[in-house]
Structures are given as structure tokens and as C-alpha cells.
Amino acid sequence: MSFEIGIMTFGEIARDPIGGALPSPRQRVRDSIEQAKLADEVGLDVFGVGEHHRSDFVGSAPAILLAAAAQATQNIRLTSSVTVLSSEDPVRVWEQFATTDLLSAGRAEIIAGRGSYAESFPLFGYDLADYSDLFREKLDLLLRIREHNPLTWSGRFRAPLVDADIAPRADGGSIPIWVGVGGSPASAISTGRLGLPMALALLLGPMTFHQETVELYRAAAAEAGHDADALPISINTHGYVGSTSQQARDIMYPSFAQGMMENNHQRGQGFRLPRAAFDAQASASAGLLVGSPQEVIDKLLGYHQLYGLNRAIIQMGFGGMSQQQHLEAIERLGTEVAPVVRREVGSRELVSA
């Protein structure tokens, strides 16, 4: 199986802490499409947009941004990262992604997630108390829509469907549906049981953070009768490819620390990630994909070996980064990192075959 390398964004609307101005939402949607276009040009495999319902992000409607990206790109796969499925209507999700799939000639994908932010639940009238039941039911419906048309279905959280014609169908008949997993054993196990590809999210921690998650996932998949080793796994983590080790850290730290301050609260308040803690997270055995091209190559190969990964999606620019610096990192990832990683993984698989 090939190793795919991509990027994702939340479409942050935040001041570049190194000295920029606050970009307008209009600017940021265009920036996001420009990122997708460059990622495509430099040969990256995946472009993802995360769903957040707050005014410091433009990504509340990933399918629309991905549809725009479809028009600006040729080859790159276009995925939500993630679709907060628990607070969505799966019928509408399917319609939007199938449309994007037609626009992009079969490049659309969905990563279905439970959502690490809770804003969308009250916004669409859902109760957080139903967190698990909502996700289970809506994933079930989305998978059925993918397989059957017309569809008859009933559940707890939406009106039943009777011989419903859900259109359009996907370009190639189907759309890859991954499940976003943050690391809880239960989500790894239920994803494995369904035999669905798993997109692991890693915010902070050692590279080995998800070892148990992957073990539980594969064991549950095998037990349910799926070919566990054939199931794709992706890691989604933050990072930045710089010109040198030091430059990468100096560029990424201020925005990442600002992003953590705004999004990762302790005692109900933001806390500033100390530089020393960031540097520790950037070290050789820690999870962040930040550094010189060679450092990022080594880490991606490390991840591949550790988990048998098929895909890595790097989130750059979290917390607000100038578009120029963001684009430079995308270019380095596509031209200096990805070709080496693909070649190395290819020769590894040749040896093991």
C-alpha cells in the first residue's frame, strides 16, 4: 500500500503572532484554496478542512471549501478533517460530498468524527448527553446511504427514510469514509469492528501515543472478520516543514502556542505552552511533525514503521501563521519530504514482500 502525505487546515482567522494583521474571513477562504492549489501542484496526496463553528475559523462548512478546492486542483484528494457527524444530517453530508466528488472527478473523502469541540451540538439542536448514540446512528446511516439507493432506514434522531432516492451518487460509485479517532479505546474498537479506515488524531505526546489504539483497532477488526492488516490508518498531527530545524521551530512555536492558548484550556482558561515544552514535543521521539525536511522525513518513516501507516496529514498554521510561511512549508513538504518518504516506504515494502 502506498504512503500518502497531505495537509489540513481549520482555516484559522488569527493574527500571525510574528507580526501580521488579523486576516479577513474573505482572505482566509482564499488562502485555504491557495494552500490546496499549491499542495496539488507540488504533488501532495491529500488536502483536508476541519469543521469548527466559531468566528476564529472559516471552516464551518468544509464541503463548500472542498468544492472550491476541487475547481482549483487536479489530482489531490479532498477530505473533511473532520466532519462532525454527530450533529449533521447524514443525508445532507452525503449530498454535499457526492457533489464535491463529481466536481473533483472522484477525489472526495469524508473523515467522520465525534468532534472535539462541542459548539455544533446546541447549534443544530442536539444534546451532548446523546454523544455516543448520535455518532453510532449517524455513521450507520451514512454507510447505508453509501451502499444503497433507494434506501429504507429508521432511527432515533431523524425522520425515517422510505424508499428514499438520495442523489447524486458518487463519481466512482463510492466515497472513502474514514473515522476520526482521538485515542479512546472504545472508538478504536468500534471503528475496527466496522472495518472502516481509521484517522488518528495526535495533538501532543510521544510518537508511541497511539500504539494501544492501533492494537485494539486491529484486534477488533480481526475479531469481526475484517482483513485487519489491509485496513488503512492515517495519522493527523500538527507540524511545520522549515528550511532548518531551528527555523521550523521558530516559525511554528509562536502560532502553535497561540492556538493552544485559544483552544486547549486548563482550569477553564487558556494556558501558554512554554517554549521548552514545545521543543520537547518537537524532539525525535515526540509526535509533532516539525523540523527540517530531513527531520520530518525521519519522523514520517518512524510513524510508518510504528503503526503500519498508510497516510499522514499534517496540520500547519494552527493558531495563525502568515500565508507566505504556510505556503513555503507546503512546498517543502511536497518537493523535499514526500518524494523521499514515498521512495523509502516503497523500498521497505519491496523488502518485506
Binding site: D133, P185, S187, I189, S190
Partner: protein
């Protein structure tokens, strides 16, 4: 003989991860020996229970509930972690239990929490409480984190394994402590409940 199990449930919720964990413990237990199950939900015992400060004050109904716990072959103490420990009403229940009624009583400790950092609630909060009563707590306690559950259904096989270990350790002891009649030996098929009397 049948093991008469009484669950003291410290969760205030109708459906809970704590009860999801208890379900798995009871299923495993019923594969070792016949059991009957009686559950006391401390949050459903009413206002009079909450206001009682002395055993002598409690009414006949509550007195009967307390005696059910005191006469169990095996107590399962099952709690969610609230503010770093067992919930207040759970402790209040044991404040009304006779000081000597649980001496040498088999007690299985079980708890659920938001994360693994709560796991020592078993050793630092629950076990000392039963230490006071000189109860015989089973050496291996059972803890599960929120992430081990899909809703209220326990999925993590490692926790299943831990339950197996905890109960297998004391399988002989459980059999020797069983005092229930064999006549209506319960199986998991009938939910392990005693017949209507």
C-alpha cells in the same frame, strides 16, 4: 449453593458507565458460579434516607434496604468518581451501615472515571472505607475510564481481562461464601434475579 450478590450503585443516573461496568462483572461472575443479584441505587433511596443521621432513626423500609446490604455474600461497591472520590450519598449509605456488619464481608471494588488519572480512587478512597469496616476486599479492584465505553457499553478488552483476573483470584473463596439456596439457582438467562417471594 448460590452466591447472593448485592450491588451498591453510587451513580445517580438511570443508565451509567458504572452500571455498564457492573453488568460485565456480573456476567463474568455468573460464569464462575450461580448468583442472584440485588441492586441498591443510593440515589433512589429518597429524601428520608438523605436526612437520616442515625441508624435508629430510619424507617422500616430503609432499615430493610440496609439489612440487604449487610446480609450479602458479596458486596459490589460501584461508583463514579465525583470530585476526586466516591459520591457523597454513597458514603452516606455506609455511614448508616452497622459498624460490625461488614466484618470479613467479601467486597469487590469498582469505579469509573473521566480518565485513567482517577484509577487510584479504588485504593485511596474505596479500600480505606472498607478497611474501617474490616471487610475482606478482593485484592484486584476494577477501574474503567470514559474512553473504554461506547455510551454505557464497556468495549475495552483489557478491562474485561482485569475483571476475569479479579474474580478468578478468589473463585474458591466465592464458592465457599455462597449461602443462597440452590433451588432457584439463577443463570444469566433470567438476569440473575431471585424469584418473586
Amino acid at each position: 449453593m448460590t452466591l447472593r450478590v448485592v450491588v451498591i450503585n453510587g451513580s445517580p443516573h438511570e443508565k451509567s458507565k458504572t452500571l455498564g461496568l457492573v453488568d460485565v462483572i456480573l456476567q463474568t461472575l455468573s460464569t464462575i458460579l450461580p448468583i442472584t443479584v440485588d441492586r441498591i441505587d443510593v440515589y433512589r433511596l429518597g429524601a428520608a434516607f438523605g436526612l437520616a443521621t442515625e441508624r435508629e432513626e430510619v424507617g422500616a423500609e430503609l432499615e430493610a434496604v440496609l439489612q440487604r446490604a449487610e446480609h450479602a455474600d458479596l458486596l459490589i461497591a460501584a461508583v463514579p468518581v465525583y470530585r476526586g472520590s466516591y459520591p457523597g450519598l454513597f458514603k452516606h449509605f455506609f455511614d448508616l451501615i452497622d459498624q460490625y456488619a461488614l466484618a470479613n464481608k467479601l467486597v469487590l471494588l469498582a469505579a469509573t472515571g473521566g480518565g485513567d488519572h482517577h484509577a487510584l480512587v479504588l485504593e485511596h478512597a474505596l479500600r480505606p472505607l472498607f478497611g474501617f469496616f474490616q471487610a475482606m476486599t478482593i485484592p484486584v479492584g476494577i477501574f474503567a475510564s470514559a474512553g473504554d465505553f461506547d455510551g454505557t457499553v464497556l468495549l475495552n478488552p483489557r478491562v474485561y481481562g482485569r475483571i476475569e483476573v479479579a474474580l478468578t483470584d478468589v473463585a474458591d473463596l466465592l464458592r465457599s461464601r455462597a449461602t443462597g439456596a440452590m433451588a432457584w439457582a439463577a443463570t444469566s438467562a433470567d438476569g440473575g434475579r431471585p424469584p418473586e417471594s
